[in-house]
Subunit: 155 residues, 2 copies
Amino acid sequence: EAPIVRAVTEDADVQKISFLGVPDTPGVAAKVFGALGAEGIPIRLVVQAQSHAGHNDITIVAPSETPISTTLLDRVVREVGGKSYLVDSEVGLLSVVGEGIAGSPGLVGQIFSVLADHAINIDLISSSNLVISCSVPLGQLQDGARALHEALIER
Amino acid sequence: EAPIVRAVTEDADVQKISFLGVPDTPGVAAKVFGALGAEGIPIRLVVQAQSHAGHNDITIVAPSETPISTTLLDRVVREVGGKSYLVDSEVGLLSVVGEGIAGSPGLVGQIFSVLADHAINIDLISSSNLVISCSVPLGQLQDGARALHEALIER
Ligand SMILES: C[C@@H](O)[C@H](N)C(=O)O
Ligand SMILES: C[C@@H](O)[C@H](N)C(=O)O
């Protein structure tokens, strides 16, 4: 049965932080999030995908108003033996919410096709059965939200 | 206020499929999921993290009972100009469910610390405000679920 898309949401007030080239060994994610947790940094999204050659990246999306010191980020990278970090505030978050979203193969493809039709490059993807979230360039966030709304909700 | 952890779930019947080294340009994700959608492949999870040098990986988790032909996977990689794919059935999915999960910095670190204490390497992470899901080696899935249950629910 077709999933029901309940909402399309957009959030411009986010920043992406990636910890790059961290060792793919137990305890690394624990250290990273332990350090972020100790600073009380709220996390909107966490994505970690395929590891390569014993290393991986860990990416978070946090509110853009949360000050995250480069001293902290340097320390985290050093403490886990990672390569570097990057911070990108020129991103926005798009989310499509509905029961059974990821389970509906056609819908996931449709969402990404709508964005592709608007020449919007998809940066991060985090998708479960309730929400598909992706980050896109901040300047295209409104276009993407409008296009998804038209395609999924207004028809 | 502390988030309420409602449930810890485990799923051994999953397979991970990563499309590696695909071009980081609009339309690639649309093609991948269009092809999977056309085959009716149900998707439990999608994760895509930090791109590098104009390329990225796209990783999905699907039910292990869904037959996914290597012909299809080869075709998808070829059609988007990717490098290769990999399929891993020796993974299990752990999820921690609760309102406000990712927003609680200390909780995310705690979850990963529990797994680290049991020498469980975290493979994929997909985390939103309602669910943290990660994949771990299949042979450690039960340990991980039990440890998280003890730490988060039974105390
Ligand atoms: C990369 C990081 O997630 C590592 N695999 C860990 O378990 O902590
Ligand atoms: C890698 C893939 O997600 C690509 N960035 C796209 O937009 O389709």
